[in-house]
C-alpha cells in the first residue's frame, strides 16, 4: 500500500462532502483541504511511488518527484486562493466542483501511469464543466455543453492512444515518448486539445467567459497547465511543439486584440501564455524545461490575479465590455492596483514574476541558436502589452471615465487578490525561491543590468506604440469568428442537410422496395395485388427485403 495519503483524494473527497456541510464546517473543510495537500507533498522528501492493480494492469497511482511537486504546490495554492475569492459569492455546487477539479488536476500531476492519468483527466473535464455550468445562464449551459463534448473528444483520443500504446508495448507507465507511431499521435492530440492548441483551441475562449466571475479563476489555472505538465513529461524536445507554441502566441494576440469582452480577452491571454510554455517544452533543454515549469508556476498566479481583478469589475459593475468601462481606479483602488500588478507580471516587467520565468525560455532559445524562436518570443512580450499587459488595465481602470463608481469587491475577494499580488512580486524579487523547486538545477540569473534595460526598452516602446495606435485598436473591438464557427455553424448546417437528404432517400428507397417486391410477386404467380404500393408499414418492408437480399446473396456466394 501507499505510504502517503493521495493529495488528490483529499481535495476530491472534500469537494464531494462539501454539499453536506454547513457554516463554519463547510469553510473549514474547504480551506483545509488544499493546505493538507500542500503539507503532504512537502513533508516527504525525494520521490514516492504507490502502486495498485486495476483491470489486471499494474498502476502507479502516485509518483511524486520534483516536477510534480512543483505543480502540486502551485495548484494547491491556487485552489486555496480561488476558494478564498469565491466562497461567499459562489454556490455550493461551484465550490464543490472547483475542489474536485483542483483535486483531479493534482491527480494528473501525480499519476505515474497513463490510466491513472486518464481517470483524473476525465474527472477534471467533468468537474470543470460543472464549474462552467455554475455560471447559471443559458449561455453558460450551452457553452458548457460544447466544452464537455470537446473535452470528452480529447479524452477518447487520449484513451485510444493509451490503449494503442498498451497494445504496442504492454506497459502503461507514463514516460517520455516520441511522435513516431499512431499511439503517441493520439496521446499527443489528447494533450494538445487540453493545452488549447489551434485548431483545437476555440473551446477555451468560448466556454471560460461564460462561467461565473469566480469560476473562471479556477478554470484559468488547471486545465491548460496540467496539459503543459503532461506535455513536459511526455513530449519534451518535440520540435513540433515549438511551431504550435508560436502559433498559439500569435493567434491569441490577434484575437485578444480584436476582443471587446474583458473576460474573453483574458481567456485568449491564457492561450498566449501556454504558447510560451509549449515553446519551451519544444526546445527541450534543461533550461527550457525549467523555464516552462517556472513559467507555469508564475503564470497560474498572475493569470488568476488578472482574472480575479476582471471578475471583480464584472461582479461589481455587471458590465463586461471594455468600451463600457473606464476610470474605475477612482472607486476600486485595490482591484486596480492588483490588476496592474498582474498586468506587469504577465508582460514580464522586471521585479514581477513573469520576468524571471519567461526570460528562461527566451534564454533557452538563444542557447540553442533558434533566432526565429527568440525573435517571436520577444515579439510575444511586446504583444502582451496589446492585450493583458496594457489594454486591460488601461481601458478598464483609466482611459475615458465611464461614470461608474462601484466600490471594491467584498473583503474575501480583495484578500485573495492581495495574496496573489504579493506572490507575484515576491517571486519577481526573490526568484531563488521559485528556482529551487524546479526539476533541474538552475544557474540562470535573470537580473543583469543589460537584460533589465533591454526588457524595459522593449516594453516601454511597445507601450508607446499602444498609445499611439489606440484609436485603431478600439476600432477593431467586437466579436469575432474563431474555430468554433466550424462546429457551431458549419457542422450544424451540414447535419441539417444530411438529415433532409437521408430522410428523402429512405422514403424513396422504401417506395422502391415495395414496388419491386410487388413486381417480383406478379411475375412469380401472376397474382395482381393492386393499390398497395404505399403502405405505411414501409419501414418493415425495407428491412425484411434486406434480409431476403442477404439470403440470396449468400446463396450466390456459396454456389
Amino acid at each position: 500500500m501507499c505510504s502517503l495519503l493521495h493529495p488528490a483524494l483529499v481535495l476530491i473527497v472534500a469537494g464531494l462532502f462539501l454539499p453536506l456541510l454547513r457554516g463554519v464546517y463547510r469553510n473549514l473543510c474547504m480551506f483545509i483541504a488544499p493546505v493538507i495537500a500542500l503539507v503532504l507533498v512537502w513533508t516527504v522528501a525525494g520521490t514516492v511511488d504507490c502502486r495498485m492493480e486495476f483491470m489486471g494492469i499494474e498502476l502507479q497511482v502516485l509518483h511524486l518527484d520534483s516536477l510534480s511537486r512543483l505543480f502540486v504546490t502551485v495548484f494547491s495554492i491556487m485552489a486555496f486562493a480561488g476558494l478564498l475569492f469565491a466562497y461567499r459569492q459562489a454556490g455550493t455546487v461551484e465550490l464543490s466542483a472547483a475542489l474536485v477539479y483542483a483535486g483531479a488536476s493534482l491527480g494528473v500531476c501525480l499519476a505515474g501511469d497513463m490510466i491513472t492519468l486518464f481517470i483524473f483527466w476525465e474527472i477534471m473535464a467533468l468537474a470543470s464543466t460543472v464549474v462552467i455550468w455554475s455560471g447559471g445562464t443559458s449561455a453558460s449551459a450551452a457553452a458548457g455543453m460544447r466544452y464537455v463534448i470537446f473535452h470528452l473528444l480529447g479524452g477518447v483520443l487520449l484513451m485510444a492512444g493509451i490503449i494503442a500504446w498498451y497494445h504496442d508495448t504492454g506497459a502503461v507507465m507514463f514516460s517520455a515518448m516520441t511522435l513516431d507511431n499512431m499511439a503517441t499521435w493520439f496521446i499527443f492530440a489528447g494533450f494538445m486539445l487540453n493545452a488549447a492548441a489551434p485548431p483545437l483551441s476555440a473551446w477555451l475562449a468560448d466556454a471560460y467567459p461564460q462561467s461565473s466571475c469566480s469560476g473562471m479563476v479556477f478554470l484559468s489555472a488547471f486545465t491548460t497547465k496540467t496539459a503543459v505538465y503532461v506535455l513536459m513529461r511526455g513530449f519534451p524536445g518535440t520540435e513540433l511543439l515549438i511551431i504550435f507554441g508560436l502559433l498559439m502566441i500569435l493567434y491569441s494576440i490577434v484575437y485578444a486584440l480584436l476582443e471587446n469582452n474583458v473576460r474573453r480577452m483574458l481567456a485568449y491571454s491564457i492561450i498566449n501564455q501556454s504558447g510560451i510554455m509549449i515553446c519551451g517544452i519544444g526546445i527541450g533543454t534543461e533550461l527550457a524545461l525549467n523555464g516552462a515549469a517556472a513559467h507555469a508556476f508564475s503564470s497560474v498566479i498572475y493569470q488568476a490575479l488578472l482574472i480575479m481583478s476582471a471578475g471583480s469589475v464584472v461582479y461589481m459593475t455587471g458590465k463586461r465590455n471594455c468600451t463600457d468601462l473606464g476610470g474605475l481606479f477612482q472607486s476600486m483602488p485595490v482591484t486596480a492596483v492588483c490588476g496592474i500588478i498582474g498586468a506587469l507580471a504577465i508582460s514580464s516587467f522586471p521585479l514581477a514574476s513573469g520576468f524571471v520565468s519567461k526570460s528562461m525560455v527566451s534564454q533557452a532559445g538563444v542557447d540553442n541558436n533558434l533566432f526565429l524562436v527568440w525573435l517571436a518570443l520577444q515579439a510575444a512580450s511586446a504583444g502582451v502589452i496589446l492585450h493583458a499587459g496594457l489594454k486591460f488595465p488601461w481601458l478598464v481602470f483609466f482611459h475615458r471615465d465611464s461614470g461608474l463608481r462601484p466600490g471594491d469587491p467584498p473583503m474575501n475577494m480583495q484578500l485573495a487578490m492581495i495574496l496573489f499580488a504579493i506572490l507575484c512580486l515576491f517571486i519577481g524579487i526573490f526568484p531563488g525561491t521559485l528556482y529551487v523547486m524546479l526539476p533541474y538545477a538552475v544557474e540562470y540569473v535573470p537580473y543583469t543590468a543589460d537584460h533589465v534595460l533591454a526588457q524595459l526598452q522593449l516594453l516601454l516602446f511597445s507601450g508607446l506604440a499602444f498609445f499611439l495606435m489606440l484609436p485603431w485598436i478600439k476600432a477593431n473591438l467586437g466579436a469575432t469568428h474563431d474555430f468554433d464557427w466550424i462546429y457551431r455553424v458549419l457542422l450544424n448546417r451540414i447535419f441539417c442537410m444530411l438529415h433532409n437528404v437521408a430522410s428523402t432517400f429512405v422514403n424513396r428507397a422504401r417506395d422502391l422496395v415495395i414496388t419491386m417486391l410487388g413486381h417480383v410477386l406478379r411475375r412469380l404467380n401472376g397474382i395482381v395485388l393492386s393499390g398497395q404500393r404505399q403502405s405505411l408499414f414501409l419501414s418493415n418492408a425495407i428491412l425484411l427485403s434486406v434480409a431476403f437480399l442477404l439470403i440470396f446473396l449468400s446463396y450466390a456466394l456459396s454456389a
Binding site: 486495476f54 483491470m55 489486471g56 486518464f118 481517470i119 476525465e122 474527472i123 467533468l126 455550468w133 443559458s138 449551459a141 455543453m145 464537455v148 463534448i149 470528452l152 473528444l153 477518447v156 483520443l157 484513451m159 485510444a160 490503449i163 494503442a164 498498451y166 497494445h167 419501414s539 418493415n540 425495407i542 428491412l543 425484411l544 434486406v546 434480409a547 442477404l550 439470403i551 446473396l553 449468400s554 446463396y555 456466394l557 456459396s558 454456389a559
Partner: protein, 492 residues
C-alpha cells in the same frame, strides 16, 4: 439432492409460479410470489455461476435420456454469466415493480401482469439454459408472446400498436430461426446444439447449410434489434409500462446476443462461417450504422424513455461490434458490455420510471417545469448517464476500454472513428436530459413541490447505480467469468 437439479429448478420455478399467480388473484400476493421466485432465481443463478466456474460445464439431462437423443440443459460459464445478468436485473426490477405497476396498470389486472412477467422470465431462462435448437425456438416464443402482452399494457394506446408491430416482426424473426433450425436438422440430423457443433465440421459447405446459417442469423438479428432490423425496439421500449422497459432493456436483447455468440463461435465455428459469408464485416458494418443511427435518433427525440430506447439501439451496436471483430478481446468486450449495459440501461429506465411515477410524464418539456424536485432520482440518473458515456469509475468505462482495445488491436480504423463519434453523441443526448433536469428555468411556477419517489423504488434504483460503480472498480468477478467463457469458445 436439490443442488444437483439446480438448472431445471431455475426453469421450473417461474414456470409453475406463473399459473399460481393467476390463482392467487390478489395483486399484492402475486407480486410477493413473483418477487420470491425472482429472488430465488437470482440466488440460484449466482450459485450456478459459482459451480460452473469450478466444474466448467454442466450438462443436465432431462428424464435421464442421454444426449444427443434426449433434451439437455447445457450450462457453461458463458450462459451462467448471462443468466446472472438476467436474474439480477429481474430481481431488481421486481423489487422496484410494486408501486410503479400499481400506478400504471389497473388493480384487477396486476396479477396477470406478474404472471406474464414470470412467463417471460421462464422463456429467457429457457433460451439461456437449453441445449436443444428446437427448444430454443419454443422458449424464444414463450418469452416473446408474454413480452407482447406485457408491452401492450402500457399507459398510452401507442403501446398497443407498438406491441402489434413487435408481434409481427418478432414472429417473422422467430419463424426465420425456425427455418434455420429445420435446415440445420436436414444437414446434421440432430437438434442438440453441441452435437450440431460436432457434426457440422463434417458437413461440406453446401447451399442448405449456408441458407440455414443465414436464416438463423437474420432471425436472431431481428430479435436482438440489430440495425436495420431494430424498428420494433424504440416504440416497444418507450411505450411499455415502466417496469417492463426496465426488465426488457436489461435482459431480452442481451439474451439474443448470447444466442448469437453461442451459434457463431460455439456451434458453427468461425471456419464454417468464413467459408460461407463475410459475417464479421457485415456485423461490423451494421453495428457501426447502428451506433450512428441510434445515437442520432436519440439526440432528436424528446422524451426520456424514447431517448433511452434509441440509445439501446446504439449500444446493441457496440455489443455486436465486439462480436464482429472475431477476436478474443472483441468478444470479451462484447460480453462485458452485455453485463454493463444491462446495469446501465435498467438503472436509467428505473430513474425514468420514478419520474413518471411522480410527474406522470417523461417528456423533457414537462421535466423543465419541475426542476429542483426529486434530487435523488436525478442524481441517480446523472450517475447512470456517466456510466453510459463511460466515465472512469463506472462500468461504462470498462466497456469503452475493452471495445476500444478490441478495435485498435484489429486495426479497424473506421470502427474506431465511429466509436469515438458515437461516444460524443452519447454525451449530447445524455446532456439533453441533464439540461432539462437542472438548467432550465420553469416556464410557470406551479407552486407545488414534488416529493421524492418512494423508498421501494429508490432503493433498487440506487442498488443498480452502486452496482454500476462497484463493478466499475472491482473487475475481478466479471472479467474472470468472461475470460473463462471466452476461452471455452472454439475458434479463437
Amino acid at each position: 439432492m436439490i443442488t444437483g437439479h439446480l438448472p431445471i429448478l431455475l426453469l421450473i420455478m417461474p414456470l409453475l409460479a406463473a399459473p399460481l399467480c393467476v390463482l392467487l388473484h390478489r395483486d399484492i400476493l402475486s407480486w410477493f410470489l413473483a418477487l420470491l421466485v425472482f429472488l430465488g432465481v437470482f440466488a440460484g443463478a449466482w450459485a450456478l455461476l459459482g459451480s460452473v466456474l469450478e466444474i466448467e460445464v454442466w450438462r443436465y439431462t432431462i428424464g435421464a435420456w442421454e444426449s444427443p437423443w434426449g433434451i439437455e440443459l447445457y450450462v457453461d460459464s458463458l450462459n451462467a454469466f448471462v443468466l446472472v445478468i438476467v436474474a439480477s436485473i429481474g430481481a431488481a426490477s421486481l423489487l422496484f415493480a410494486r408501486q410503479s405497476v400499481a400506478s400504471e396498470i389497473a388493480a384487477d389486472r396486476t396479477y396477470l401482469f406478474y404472471s406474464a412477467l414470470l412467463l417471460n422470465l421462464t422463456g429467457l431462462i429457457g433460451v439461456i439454459l437449453t441445449g436443444d435448437a428446437f427448444n430454443l425456438f419454443v422458449f424464444i416464443e414463450i418469452s416473446s408472446l408474454s413480452g407482447y402482452a406485457l408491452i401492450s399494457l402500457g399507459r398510452k394506446r401507442l403501446a398497443l400498436y407498438a406491441a402489434y408491430r413487435y408481434l409481427i416482426l418478432g414472429t417473422v424473426g422467430a419463424t426465420f430461426i425456425l427455418i434455420g433450425v429445420g435446415l440445420l436438422y436436414v444437414v446434421t440430423g440432430t437438434l442438440n446444439l453441441q452435437d450440431i457443433g460436432v457434426r457440422i465440421a463434417d458437413v461440406s459447405a453446401d447451399r442448405t447449410l449456408a441458407t440455414a446459417i443465414c436464416f438463423l442469423l437474420i432471425g436472431l438479428s431481428m430479435k436482438l434489434a440489430l440495425f436495420p432490423l431494430h424498428v420494433w425496439l424504440p416504440a416497444a421500449y418507450s411505450a411499455a409500462p415502466s417496469v417492463v422497459s426496465v426488465f426488457l432493456a436489461g435482459t431480452t436483447t442481451k439474451v439474443f446476443i448470447y444466442v448469437l455468440i453461442r451459434y457463431v463461435f460455439d456451434i458453427f465455428g468461425l471456419d464454417t462461417i468464413r467459408g460461407i459469408l463475410p459475417l464479421g464485416d457485415i456485423l461490423v458494418l451494421l453495428s457501426m450504422l447502428a451506433i450512428l443511427y441510434g445515437s442520432w435518433m436519440a439526440i432528436v427525440r424528446s422524451s426520456i424513455k424514447s431517448i433511452l430506447a434509441y440509445s439501446s439501439v446504439a449500444q446493441i451496436g457496440y455489443m455486436v461490434l465486439g462480436i464482429g471483430l472475431f477476436t478474443r478481446t472483441g468478444l470479451t468486450a462484447s460480453i462485458l458490455h452485455m453485463f454493463n449495459h444491462a446495469l446501465i440501461k435498467s438503472a436509467l429506465f428505473m430513474a425514468a420510471a420514478c419520474l413518471i411515477y411522480r410527474l406522470g410524464t417523461d417528456r423533457l418539456e414537462d421535466l423543465r417545469n419541475s426542476s429542483g424536485c426529486m434530487p435523488w432520482t436525478r442524481a441517480a440518473f446523472v450517475l447512470g448517464g456517466f456510466s453510459l458515456i463511460g466515465v472512469p469509475g463506472t462500468v461504462g468505462f470498462l466497456s469503452k476500454w475493452y471495445l476500444l482495445q478490441a478495435t485498435i488491436e484489429s486495426g479497424n480504423w473506421p470502427a474506431l472513428a465511429v466509436m469515438i463519434i458515437g461516444s460524443l453523441m452519447a454525451v449530447v443526448y445524455f446532456w439533453k436530459i441533464v439540461e432539462a433536469f437542472y438548467f432550465r428555468q420553469p416556464a410557470q411556477d406551479t407552486g407545488e413541490k414534488m416529493t421524492e419517489a418512494p423508498l421501494m423504488m429508490l432503493a433498487p434504483l440506487w442498488l443498480l447505480i452502486l452496482a454500476n460503480i462497484y463493478f466499475g472498480i472491482d473487475t475481478d468477478l466479471t472479467l474472470d467469468s468472461i475470460t473463462l467463457a471466452v476461452s471455452s469458445l472454439a475458434g479463437l
